[in-house]
C-alpha cells in the first residue's frame, strides 16, 4: 500500500504543472517576505494569496489529473482490488504531492522568516485547504463523465467558495445589520472551508483587533479549546465528507 502510494506521489511530483506550482508559491512567499519589512504584514498578504490560489490550483489540477488517468485506473480496477481502495490511493497520492509542493513553496519560507505560531498556522491552513479542495475535485470528477463538465464544476465550486460565498455573507450582514448577527455569522462561516482557515489564522494576528465586534466574537470563540476543536472538526469534515461521497459514487458507477 505504502509502495503504491509512493509510486503515485513520485509520478505526480515530477509533473511539470506541479513543479511550476511549487515555483510560483516559492516566488510569492520569498517576494512578499523580502519586499515587506513587517513580517506580520507579509504573512497577512501571503495568507490572502494562499487562500485563493491554493484552492484553485488544487481543485483544477486534481480534476484534470483524474480524467487523464481514467484509462490507467480502468486497468488497475481490472485487477483483484476494491474500487474504494483505488480511489483512496489516488486521492492520497494527489493530496500528498500537492501538500508537499505547498510545504516547499510556502512552508519553508514561512519557517525561515516567521517561525511563529501564526506562521505555522498559515502553513497548516494551506495544507488543509489543499486536502479539502482535492476532495471536492474528486467529488466533482466522479459525478461527471465528461471532462469539460467536470472542469466546469471544479471552477464553479472554487468560484463559489472563494468569492460568491463571502459576497452573500456580506449581503446578509448588510441587510440585517440591526440584529446581533455575530453568532449566526460564526455558524455561516463554518459552511466555507476557506473562511474557516482564514478565521483561524486571522484571529491570531494583531489585525483581528481592527475587526470590531465580530472580530472579538471570533476571537473569543477560538480562544476557548472547544471553539478551536470545532473549527478543526469542521475543516476535517470538509475534507472527509466530499471524499466519502466520491467513494460512494465511484463504487457504483460504470467505467
Amino acid at each position: 500500500m505504502k509502495k503504491i502510494i509512493s509510486f503515485v506521489v513520485g509520478d505526480i511530483i515530477r509533473n511539470r504543472i506541479v513543479l511550476a506550482y511549487t515555483a510560483v508559491l516559492l516566488l510569492f512567499s520569498l517576494g512578499l517576505f523580502s519586499l515587506e519589512p513587517h513580517p506580520e504584514k507579509a504573512l497577512l498578504s501571503l495568507m490572502n494569496i494562499v487562500l485563493v490560489f491554493v484552492p484553485l490550483a488544487s481543485i483544477v489540477f486534481s480534476t484534470i489529473h483524474y480524467y487523464n488517468s481514467a484509462e490507467f485506473m480502468e486497468l488497475v480496477l481490472a485487477q483483484p482490488v476494491a474500487r474504494s481502495r483505488v480511489l483512496l490511493v489516488e486521492f492520497a497520492g494527489i493530496a500528498l504531492a500537492l501538500a508537499l509542493a505547498f510545504l516547499i513553496g510556502v512552508g519553508l519560507p514561512v519557517l525561515w522568516y516567521e517561525a511563529s505560531a501564526r506562521g505555522v498556522l498559515l502553513v497548516l491552513g494551506g495544507v488543509m485547504a489543499t486536502v479539502v479542495f482535492v476532495a471536492l475535485a474528486f467529488l466533482g470528477a466522479v459525478s461527471f463523465r465528461d471532462k469539460a463538465q467536470g472542469i466546469g464544476a471544479a471552477l464553479i465550486l472554487w468560484f463559489f467558495f472563494a468569492l460568491v460565498f463571502d459576497a452573500l455573507l456580506l449581503l446578509v450582514l448588510y441587510n440585517f445589520s440591526e440584529y446581533p448577527l455575530e453568532r449566526a455569522v460564526l455558524i455561516l462561516t463554518m459552511l466555507n472551508p476557506i473562511d474557516i482557515a482564514r478565521m483561524m489564522i486571522i484571529t491570531r494576528m494583531d489585525t483581528a483587533a481592527l475587526m470590531g465586534h465580530s472580530g472579538a466574537v471570533f476571537r473569543e470563540f477560538l480562544a476557548g479549546g472547544w471553539g478551536w476543536i470545532a473549527a478543526w472538526m469542521a475543516l476535517l469534515a470538509w475534507g472527509g465528507l466530499p471524499l466519502a461521497g466520491a467513494v460512494r459514487i465511484f463504487s457504483r458507477k460504470d467505467l
Binding site: 490507467f72 486497468l75 488497475v76 485487477q79
Partner: protein, 238 residues
C-alpha cells in the same frame, strides 16, 4: 469457467447489451466480433466488473462478478487504449500491478513476453517516452504476467508491428493449448483467424451466433473467417 445469464445493459435510453446467455470453458479462444458499437467492450467490462449489468448475472469460476473483486485474480486484461502515468518507469508500472495483485500472484510470474518483446531495454524509461506500440507491448505483458487462467484482450494487435504481432499470436495460441480461456476482440479478422477456436458475433447488443470456427467455416463453405463473416452479413440483408 465464465457463465453469463440473461445479461442486459443499457446506458440511459441506449441498449448496449440485451439478453446475452452463454458459457465459456477452458481451452477456448473466443473471437468476439461485431461492428462498432455492437457492445463488445461493454460485454468485456461486465465480465471485469467495470460495468454493472442492468439485468442478468455473470459468474467467473462460480463467483458472481457483481459486488465482488477477488475473482479478478483469475483474469488478465489488456485494454484497448493503454495510457499510463507519464512519469512512471516501465518497471514501476509492472511492480505496481504486482503489488496490487499480492504475493500469491508474484509466485506465478510469467515474464516470457518481456524477453520476446525486448522490453528489458526500456525497463528504466518513463512511460511518456514510449511509442504507442511499445506501450501496447507493456499492456500485453501485464495481461500475461501473472499467469491468470482467463485472458481478456481488447484489440490486442491493433498497434503492433508484424514481429510483435506474431509473438503475441504465438503466445495466445500456446496459452490456449494449455487450457486457458482467452477472449479477444478485434477488427483484424485475419489475426483472429490464426488463433481463434470459437466465434461470438454481436450485433446491436444481441448475440447473433456463437459457434466453433470450424463449423462456421463448414457452414459457409469458406476457408477464411473474413469471408465467412461477410457471407453471413450478406445473407441477413433482405
Amino acid at each position: 469457467m465464465i457463465r453469463i445469464e440473461n445479461l442486459s445493459k443499457s446506458f440511459g435510453r441506449n441498449t448496449a447489451l440485451s439478453d446475452i446467455t452463454l458459457q465459456l470453458s477452458p481451452g477456448q479462444c473466443v473471437a468476439l466480433i461485431g461492428p462498432n458499437g455492437s457492445g463488445k467492450t461493454t460485454l468485456l467490462k461486465c465480465i471485469l466488473g467495470l460495468v454493472r449489468p442492468s439485468a442478468g448475472k455473470v459468474w467467473v469460476n462460480g463467483i458472481t462478478a457483481a459486488g465482488n473483486w477477488a475473482y479478478r485474480e483469475h483474469i488478465g486484461y489488456m485494454p484497448q487504449v493503454g495510457r499510463y502515468p507519464d512519469q512512471m518507469k516501465v518497471e514501476q508500472v509492472l511492480e505496481l500491478i504486482r503489488q496490487i495483485r499480492g504475493r500469491e500472484a508474484a509466485r506465478h510470474t510469467d515474464a516470457e513476453l518481456i524477453g520476446a518483446f525486448g522490453l528489458e531495454e526500456v525497463m528504466a524509461q518513463r512511460m511518456y517516452t514510449l511509442s504507442g506500440g511499445t506501450r501496447q507491448k507493456v499492456s500485453a505483458t501485464l495481461a500475461f504476467l501473472f499467469g491468470p487462467p482467463i485472458l481478456i484482450l481488447d484489440e490486442p494487435t491493433a498497434g503492433l508491428d508484424p514481429v510483435a504481432n506474431e509473438v503475441l499470436k504465438d503466445k495466445i495460441r500456446r496459452q490456449c493449448e494449455r487450457g486457458k480461456l482467452i477472449i479477444i476482440t478485434s477488427h483484424i479478422l485475419s489475426d483472429l483467424d490464426d488463433v481463434a477456436t470459437d466465434v461470438l458475433f454481436l450485433q446491436e447488443g444481441r448475440m447473433q451466433f456463437f459457434k466453433t470456427l470450424a463449423s462456421l467455416k463448414a457452414e459457409t463453405r469458406e476457408d477464411r473467417l473474413s469471408r465467412a463473416i461477410a457471407r453471413i452479413m450478406q445473407k441477413e440483408k433482405p
